[in-house]
Structure formats: C-alpha cells, structure tokens
C-alpha cells in the first residue's frame, strides 16, 4: 500500500506486469474511488459547463460522455475529466488530487439556475480489458451490447444501484462503475470471483495508460502545460474552437491558431533502461530539446516507452533525440501515439 492523493492505495497485487497483462488479455479490476465525482444540475448546468469546458455541452446527447479539460484564465490546465449527460444532470469524474481545485472553480463560476454537488460516499471501480464486458454482463441488469465507448447509464450491478460508463484509462474496452461506497466491497468481490478478473493496482494503471498514450494530470497536463501543448486539440469541437466562451479561451484559441512552442510526443527508447519523468532530452547537436513527462517499461512492447514535451521542431515522428540517464546518453526516437493501439468499442457510424 502506498500513499496517493491523500489515500492509502495498493501499488500492486500479483505484480505490475501480471496485472498489466491481465488488462490487455482478460480483465483487471481497479479501485479508483479516490477520484472526484461531481454533479451539475438545474437549467443553468449547460451554461455552467460551457463556460468552463470547451465542449458542446448543449449537444451532448443523454447517455453520452466526453473527455475534456478545465483551464484557468492563462490557459493552463486545472484538470482533465469525463463529463456525461445523465438526462437531467451532468456527471463529472475528475482526478483525486485536483477535485478541490475543480470544485472551487465550478463554485466560482456557477451560472444562474445551476446547482453543484460534490458526491460523497461514492466509490468508483474500473473493470478494464477485452473480457470486461463479458464479465460485467453476468452482473449488470442493463444490456451491455447496446453500450459503446463513452456511453453511460444507470443500472444495477450485482444487486447494487450503479452508474456505468463504457470508458477507462487503459486503452482497452472497459467500464467505470460508480456506486455507493457501502456496496463497493461486495460488488468488487462479485467481479473478482470471476476467474477472468485480476485485481490491479496503481502500478499497472500507470503502465497501461502510458502505453495508451493517455495524459496524466500532473505529468502531461498542469497549470504550466496547456491541453493544446499536450496534444488534446482533438477533444475541442469546431464550434468551441471558433466561438471560445470558456475560461482560458483566449490562450487556447491562440494556441490552436498559431501553434505552440512545445508539443507532447511519444518516445521509443533504445535498450532496456527506461527514461523516466524529468529526464532531459537533447537533439543531435547536443542542444536541449525537451523533457520526459512520463516514462517506464512497456510490458506489451517489452521495451521502454515514454511521453515527452519537446520543442515543436522535434515533434514529428522519427525525430532522433537522446535522453540523459545517469550521465549516459540513451538514444530515443519520437513516435506516434498511442504506443499500443486502443481497442475501444466505438459505435459504428451510420452509413
């Protein structure tokens, strides 16, 4: 058990690699109850959301969710999060360490007719992997076949009322299950009783999201790193890119229009020693090129992988850089993300 965001959480169970592989091959269960669960309700909820988040909240269909982020006035990131339309409410899941800052920001920017609630006494379990749906189907009342990536609905799981969202932080198909804290232990046990499910901790959670090229707030996103620098322009719909109207829009729109001095890239590294967060990168001339934001061992690729913030001139794939590790130079090359392809169950487009 290790301290994390004010909680005591398991780093691993059977081992990081074993848990990581379970998530890629069968299913892994993570307890992510430390994350913030917030609700915006009332007729002013759309205006509140659109004033803070660069999403088309008014166009978000009931039962759908979006990945987005909240910025400060300077365009720095306050947090990244998933926002879902539950019909009469917007349901937000954000990072544990940022939940206070997010709540404060929302409270300071509530539109008329909007109420904000930070849910207490709620747990969040993440079941991730190619067999997650098959496992959950045995315990969920809802028909999971009707759920695609980023769909959410309220149902019963192992007899407990739960909100399930078909999303996660691993790159695999999977579900995040929000439920009352009192019900969490027995639901977790019910899922773990299935041979296909392995309990997984923080170590595997990090190695999975690193392979998937997903940003971790604090590493790839922060007050000093804007979502555009972190490569998340894709998450902002054209209507918000044109219109602005959210906190930080001036900077964000400018970065979209004119580019940024630095960009997030993937790195493939030579050898077996990982370049880890904070490692300095140099270009072929020995000049400073950027910094590793996250790095570690990829159990799927069996080599080190990293994410790095580099000068935009180095941000195209195939750029050769070197990382400094214990006084030595490690050869690295920029690569497209993700390191390991995502396998979300994306809704087929109507033809």
């Amino acid at each position: 058990m290790v301290p994390f965001a004010g909680y005591s959480m398991p780093l691993r169970f059977a081992g990081i690699v074993a848990e990581h592989q379970a998530a890629r091959v069968r299913a892994a269960l993570f307890d992510v109850s430390h994350m913030g669960q917030l609700v915006l309700a009332g007729e002013g909820r759309i205006a509140t959301a659109e004033g803070l988040l660069p999403i088309a909240a008014g166009k978000l269909a009931a039962g759908r969710s979006k990945y987005t982020f909240m910025c400060d006035e300077q365009g720095g990131t306050i947090d990244d999060m998933i926002v879902g339309n539950d019909g009469d409410r917007l349901f937000i899941v954000c990072n544990a360490a940022s939940a206070d800052a997010v709540a404060k920001h929302i409270e300071g920017n509530l539109a008329d007719g909007c109420t904000f609630q930070r849910l207490a006494g709620r747990a969040l379990l993440a079941l991730q992997g190619p067999q997650a749906a098959a496992v959950l189907a045995e315990h969920a009342a809802a028909d999971l076949d009707s759920m695609y990536f980023m769909d959410a609905l309220w149902t019963e799981v192992a007899g407990a009322e739960a909100r399930i969202c078909r999303c996660g932080y691993t790159g695999e198909d999977g579900f995040e299950i929000s439920l009352a804290a009192e019900a969490a232990a027995s639901v977790a046990r019910a899922l773990l009783a299935d041979d296909r499910v392995a309990p997984a901790g923080l170590g595997a959670r990090d190695s999975l999201r690193l392979e998937a090229g997903l940003c971790l707030y604090g590493n790839e996103l922060s007050a000093a790193i804007s979502p555009i620098e972190a490569g998340l322009r894709w998450a902002i719909p054209p209507s918000r890119r044109r219109g602005g109207g959210f906190v930080g829009a001036d900077t964000i729109l400018d970065q979209i229009a004119n580019g940024t001095a630095r960009c997030l890239v993937g790195l493939a590294c030579e050898g077996r020693a990982p370049l880890r967060a904070g490692a300095e990168l140099q270009d072929a001339e020995g000049q400073f090129a950027g910094t590793v934001t996250s790095g570690g061992w990829s159990p799927t690729l069996e080599r080190p992988v990293a994410l790095a913030l580099v000068g935009s001139q180095h941000a195209h794939p195939g750029c050769r850089l070197s990382g400094l590790l214990r006084g030595r130079s490690i050869a690295a090359e920029t690569v497209e993300l993700p390191h390991v392809a995502h396998r979300y169950r994306v809704r087929p487009r109507a033809s």
């Binding site: 780093l11 691993r12 081992g15 990081i16 690699v17 170590g203 190695s207 050898g271 077996r272 020693a273 990982p274 880890r276 570690g296 061992w297 159990p299 080190p304 214990r326």
Partner: protein, 122 residues
Amino acid sequence: MAKQYTRNHEWIEMAEDTGSWRVGITQYAQEQLGDIVMAELPDVGRTVVAGEECAVIESVKAASDIYAPLEGEITRINEDLAGSPELINEQAEGAGWLFEISGSLDGAVELLGEQEYADLVG
C-alpha cells in the same frame, strides 16, 4: 560458508570456484522492487570502495541503486542477466546473482547473519 547480508538488502557469499565474493539482492529486495527489467552491472576490472554505488536495477516502476559491500575489484558479472533479468526476481539468492568482487571483508559494510537479517525485514 553461509550467506551474510547487508542493511541494503544485499547478500554476499564466497564463490567456491573463484575465491571472490559473490553479491546479489535478497528475496525481500526483489519482492519490494517488483518486476525487474534490467540490471546495469559494473565493468569487470572496476575498483570500488565499501558502500559505493556500483550497479543499478531497473524495475517497471523505478531504478534502485546497488552498493559494493566491500572494497575490491569487480572480477565477474552475471552474463545471464542481460537476456533474463527476471532471474533476479525468480532466483534472487541463487542464479540471479549480480557480480563478484575480490577483496577482504575487513572494512566491509556492516554484515548481518541470516537470523539478524530475517529480524531486520520482519
């Protein structure tokens, strides 16, 4: 002669065939480190002093320093580890040894017996 242990969770044992001291990390240490992905071993011929950082073990989560338990010269490294770093996890106190060092135990770091070490890690 029985293994002796250091407070840095390393073991040391006389290698019968060479007369050098064979060094590795303990079962407790490999458990703490988790899945090991590589070991950066010292160059053969390098001289080290007792307590000097002379190797690094990279696990999935972090890099950990390994310290020379005594003053001497690195005479041999475990070549199997390059292709099979997991040997350190699987046989930490046997086939997963790290390097051999020639020198005297005089001036070595504090060495513990088996029971003392067992008490240390509880």
